[in-house]
Each structure stands twice: as structure tokens, then as C-alpha cells.
Amino acid sequence: MGLLSLSKERFRLGRLRKSLEKEPLPHGIAECVLGYLTLGDHAAAQEVLEFGRSVFPDAQEIRRLGARMSSVDAERRVREAKERVRSAPSMAAYLDLADAFRSLQRDDSSVATLEESIRRFGDQCSALVQLGAMRLERYRDSLKASDALAAKAWLDRAAAADADAVKPHYLLAELFALVGARDAARGCIERTLALAPEHDRARRLLRDLDHQKVERAEGNTGEPDFETLASRVEIARSFGDADRTSRADEGSITMPLQAPTAEVARLRETTGASCVVFGAQSRPSVESHDLVTECEDGLRERSVVMRELADLCDRAARGMDLGAPARLVVEGEDSSCILELKRGAFMGVLVGSDHDVEGSAVATRDALERVVRA
């Protein structure tokens, strides 16, 4: 954009801003904020956004602009952190840059930064833990043996780099529990609790393992090695394929899903939804059970429609070669339906048109994640 165009655009935005002060419109405010952001005038964009928030506190367009501004802030943080890495490289500067990348969900850049920091400054527990945690996170979604092995390698190195660090042991325990290596998981939890006796999540994980041990006491004849277990999970990971063995049958990860009545009730309370439904899709990869619902009177029968929508979402995504579906949002004039899908299970909510759809979707995704990972 030439200087003349820049000055014309600034003049246009100035006029638009004045007219919005007289007659505020959400889409006009959005245009003005985006225009200022394009010009790089972050301060003016923020001022117009604040004005928009004061006039239309509940407008979705204004909320979306808020999210956009946050991402602009994160990009600025990345630029500043990059500058620090260039001018005064240190492990702390690298860690900050990696964290800034993660806040933008640029995990590949974050991993590259952390690897570079380790090459430059040697093994450092925080960097190694972050690499292990990201690989573990990826493993939760992919269930690929290669991810499990890589996560284990990073976390082993982290534990070796700092024997007193709690996090590597706890994350290793989670990883072992995920692949079904219960004895190894128990060993890691014991080390975690020896270092941090108040570690609640470790205690919960230990309780879960004890519970599984009781359930599977019969017919349990020793535990294969980590790589074998991770490979077995990978073979059984295709939850959408009914011809394959499910992880439940494999016995490596707790399946079927427990009916998450409390989670469903909590989600309804936090989102203010008129209806929350949890269930397995019709072509289930998790063992099918009845829909778990939490609805206002008269809405209960609509939960079946939500399951049909989840199936439709699955067919449409796969038919269009988009891979596994993750979310369907149907925004209507009166209310909106949000469906989150993960590994053959779905969580659906109905919220009013005045509700924050994006916020409700995030809450729904988190609730489903917790249920599926539990």
C-alpha cells in the first residue's frame, strides 16, 4: 500500500469512526477495528474495540474482534520474544518464544524453538518437559506409537536432567497409563508423590489405576513392554472403523466411556444451555450406551436429533475428504446447536442466540475432552 493509499485509508477510517460515534453499528465497528489493524495502528483499533464493547457488550461480532485482538497481541509477543532471542540469547528467552508460539497454537514452531535451545544450551528440564508434554498431547489425539515413544524419550531425558522435578514423572505416569502400562505408571506416580505428596492429580491417577486393577484382576498375566503396548493401541486406534478392535476390547485404555452425568450437568450450568447431550455416534467406536441428557422440560426428545446431526457431521466430513469431524455449529435465529465430536463420542449443547457461541463451544470441547480422557 503506497503512502497516498495509506493516508486515504486512515482518513476513511477516521470518518467511519466519527460516524460510528453518532450511530454505532457492530459490523461498522468490526470494519473499523480490522481496518486499523491492517494499518498496524493497534492503539486505535483497541480504542474502537473498547468503544464497541461499551455499546454492544453482548454482540458476537465484538467478542470475535476481542479474540482477534488477543491473537494480534500474541503475534506481537512472538515478535518481541524473537528479538530477545536474537539480541540476548538465553534459555529463558527461548522458553518465552516457545511459549509465545504455543499461545498462537503454532506447535511446530514451538517445538523447533525448544529443540534449538537444547542444542545450544544443553539438556534443560523445562524445555524437555515442554517437548514431552506437547508430544504427549499429540499422542492423546493420534494414538500413534511413534508419538508415544517420542514423548517417553523427551520425558525420560527431562527426568534425567533434573531428578527433583515432579512434572516429568507425572507426565510419564499419564503416558504409561494411556498405553496401558499400569505397573510402570504406578512406579512413576510413586516417584511423583515422593517428590510432591500433595500432588492431587497423581493421587487421582493412582486411584483410577487401582480401580482398573480390581476390574481386570482376573486373566492378567504380566505386562508387555512399552513399545508393544503403544503399537497395540495404534492398531486399535481407528475408532470409526467397526471392523477393528476397539481400545476397550484391547484392554489397554479404559473403555467404554463412563456415563458422564455429572459432567453433562456441569456443562449445562456453566454454558446456560437449555439442553446438553452426550452420547456415542450411531456407528460407535466407543461401546454404545444410552444418551446422557440434561435438558429443560420438553427438550429431552431433541437429544435424538442431536445424535442424528452428529452422524450427519461425520458423513459429511468424511465424504468431503476432510478427515475426522471435530465440531459442527448450527447457528439459528432463535438459538444455536453446538456439537463437539471426538473418537466416536459427541457432546451437544443448545444455547440461546444471545449466548456466546464460541465460548460455549470451547466449554463443550473441554467437557468432551475430559470425558474421553477420563
Binding site: H27, A30, E31, L34, E61, R63, R64, L65, A67, R68, S71, Q105, R302, V305, M306, E308, L309, L312, C313, R315, A316, A317, G319, M320, D321, L322, G323, A324, P325, A326, R327, L328, V329, V330, E331, G332, E333, D334, S335, S336, C337, L350, S353, E358
Partner: protein, 119 residues
């Protein structure tokens, strides 16, 4: 319509767009090389129709927008009177911004379709 599709395609992260009638006939499209417009329109038409029926059953009112996010991409469907605007984006793209960017062309299209069919 071509112009609207073109302007949408120029937005960051937008892989393509098409405009189709409710029964799946493509009116204008630019989906890049990876997707076939007719196949997408056929599937999109069936999906949108079914979703509209479900929306009625769920009491959502008239559908304003339908967003399907999957592992390798995101489809945003915007029903516009008798037409449907379909926008294909990267899955990781900031959806909030995309929706803001789609809103403008969608308003233009509604205005155009009303000019074509005066009440």
C-alpha cells in the same frame, strides 16, 4: 457472484468458495485444485438440507450459518435466501476473523439476490 467468490478467495486462510442453489446446482465456484465443485455441492446440499430439518426439530429458527470443522479443513455454509454460500478454510484459521470476513460478501449476496427477485 464471481467477483464475490474471488474476493473471498483472496482472504487469508480461505482455500475456496462456491455459491450453489439449495438443491445443489453450482452457480459459481473457485475451490482450487483439490476439491471438485459438483461433488462438494452435492454433499453440501444434502447436509445443509438435513441440518435445516434438524434445526427446525431443535427449534433453532432460521439457520444463519453452519460451520463444520474437521481434521483437514473447515466448511462454512451461509444460507442466503435461495442460495447457499460455501466457504472452505484452513482448519486452524482464526474462525472469528473468517466469519467477520465472510459476513460482508454474504450481505452483498443477499442484497444482489433481492435485486434479482424484487418483492
Amino acid at each position: 457472484m464471481k467477483r464475490i467468490i474471488q474476493s473471498l478467495k483472496e482472504r487469508v486462510g480461505v482455500k475456496g468458495a462456491l455459491i450453489m442453489t439449495g438443491d445443489g446446482v453450482v452457480a459459481a465456484s473457485d475451490l482450487g485444485g483439490s476439491l471438485d465443485a459438483d461433488s462438494v455441492a452435492a454433499l453440501a446440499s444434502a447436509s445443509v438440507l438435513r441440518a435445516m430439518k434438524s434445526a427446525t426439530e431443535l427449534g433453532l429458527g432460521r439457520i444463519r450459518r453452519l460451520t463444520l470443522t474437521a481434521a483437514f479443513g473447515r466448511f462454512v455454509f451461509v444460507p442466503l435466501d435461495e442460495l447457499v454460500l460455501v466457504v472452505v478454510t484452513e482448519p486452524q484459521l482464526d474462525l472469528d476473523l473468517t466469519l467477520l470476513e465472510i459476513a460482508g460478501p454474504a450481505r452483498q449476496m443477499i442484497a444482489m439476490s433481492r435485486l434479482d427477485h424484487p418483492m
